[in-house]
Amino acid sequence: MFPFLYEWSWYLGQYLFMGAAGFAISVVGAGLTYCIVMSIIHTMQEDEHADH
């Protein structure tokens, strides 16, 4: 799974497989992070409006 593991080989098949898996995980992770960050910002903005 990672280059420091015994099974890892440096060739195209490995890059494609792990690249695709990593890409999918990254997209989902980035999407979730975006939602959490935006939700925090929106909630804080509402708090500021409430204070005014």
């Binding site: 593991l5 999918a24 999407g31 925090i40």
Partner: protein, 412 residues
């Protein structure tokens, strides 16, 4: 009754009636969990597995629920990527069904490997040349995607919505749902396909082996296509069942008709491709290995006669497809759901044939008898487990979450 915890403007049964409804499912679940722990604690000797059947009956259940759960990815594709608005009226329910199917599939796999504590080996020491490694990766990541798609549905519960952070979170997740849906489609394409690829690459088993395109046997594409075709029909049928049980209309008929039309054409193209594949296999691939078509459908237990091929392709393939592509067929609810049930049975037969009949066929020249398998009670009850678990999760989701946006309008 109505409470602040229920979706706005809808009525639900009383708590006592709800608990009574769930009780039988909980009893089945309890027995299944006992069987599950027996398998994990004492080992796979609690099953009837043998040298011929190394995956028990679970492998069929696994492939079938994954294919039927395909409704989630294909409905997501239609709703968020193609932009078919009407599908959004059933997409939440499709996601819940998907979560039920995929968590069940992973649970069954956890039983099937016998050593669930070593389940992480397939990720850590990944053999990227194995179709099953691809299945494990895509299946696990896709379950994550499905849970992500399920989160905003949970957050839309009126009580949770009162929390402003969760309110914004649900809104923001809906905004970028297309990104999650696209990732789900990508992952589903590969794991549905690789599940089909597994029998297709078995060149030592002429009943399963298929030629194909580059590294992918034709079964790779047939499995993905069939899951995309029948998955939405399964979603529609389960929705209709929910309507029957609750005594309410949950989605408008045009949603059913739309899903039926799309699935009908998908099913027709799939079954034509499947027929071509079968004819090519029967006339070229199998004879090249010294077999005729009837070698695989005779001299074996009655349940593997030629009838199984006729049932899969004609009765549960062409027949429902032809009903669903005609307007008259779609407008008659009994015909529509009759065709949907036939298509679901056809898909289950296909998965049965591609794993269990493959394992039943004799491998060596001195073996004349087909292998017969009768599952142990532990296998049967744990195979029923997803049904009980599904009833519980769907009932809870229906009670507390806004699964059907049209419910309020249809039940004033």
């Amino acid at each position: 009754m109505t409470t602040p915890a229920f979706p706005e403007g809808v009525k639900r049964c009383g708590n006592g009636q709800f608990i009574l409804w769930l009780l039988p499912a909980f009893l089945v679940l309890l027995i299944a969990v006992y069987a599950m722990f027996r398998v994990w604690f004492y080992g796979l000797n609690q099953t009837n597995m043998n040298d011929a059947y190394g995956f028990a009956i679970w492998i069929w259940a696994d492939l079938a629920v994954i294919a039927l759960g395909g409704g989630a990815f294909f409905s997501g594709f239609l709703a968020y990527i193609i932009g078919v608005k009407n599908v959004k009226n059933i997409i939440n329910f499709a996601v819940v069904l998907g979560v039920v199917c995929y968590t069940s599939a992973l649970l069954i796999l956890g039983l099937d490997v016998g050593q669930p504590l070593r389940g992480w080996f397939i990720f850590w020491h990944a053999n990227i040349h194995s179709m099953l490694t691809e299945v494990a990766f895509c299946l696990t990541i896709y379950l994550g995607v499905l849970i992500v798609e399920f989160i905003p549905v949970i957050l839309e519960n009126p009580k949770i919505q009162k929390n402003r952070f969760f309110h914004h979170m649900a809104h923001n997740m809906h905004e970028i749902m297309a990104v999650f849906a696209a990732t789900g489609v990508f992952l589903s394409f590969f794991h549905q396909g690789s599940l089909g690829g597994v029998p297709g690459v078995l060149y030592g088993r002429p009943f399963a082996f298929r030629e194909g395109l580059f590294i992918w046997p034709w079964t790779f594409f047939l499995f993905t296509w069939s899951a995309a075709a029948v998955g939405p029909l399964f979603t529609a049928t389960m929705c209709r069942l929910a309507e029957f049980i609750t005594g309410k209309r949950l989605v408008k008929d045009d949603v059913y008709r739309l899903l039926a039309k799309i699935s009908g054409w998908m099913l027709l193209t799939y079954i034509i491709a499947k027929s071509i594949d079968t004819i090519y296999w029967a006339t070229v691939t199998a004879p090249a290995r010294g077999f005729t078509l009837m070698d695989f459908y005779s001299n074996n237990p009655a349940y593997y006669g030629i009838w199984i091929l006729i049932a899969e392709i004609l009765i549960c393939g062409f027949l429902p497809a032809l009903i669903l592509i005609t307007q008259k067929g779609r407008e008659n609810k009994k015909l529509l759901f009759g065709a949907a049930i036939l298509a679901i049975i056809g898909l289950c037969i296909n998965r049965w044939v591609m794993v269990l009949q493959v394992l039943a066929a004799p491998l060596k020249p001195f073996q004349e008898e087909w292998f017969v398998y009768s599952p142990a009670w532990t296998e049967v009850i744990t195979t029923i487990l997803p049904v009980a678990y599904g009833i519980i999760l769907i009932s809870l989701a229906y009670r507390f979450l806004p699964l059907f946006p049209q419910e309020r309008e249809l039940n004033p």
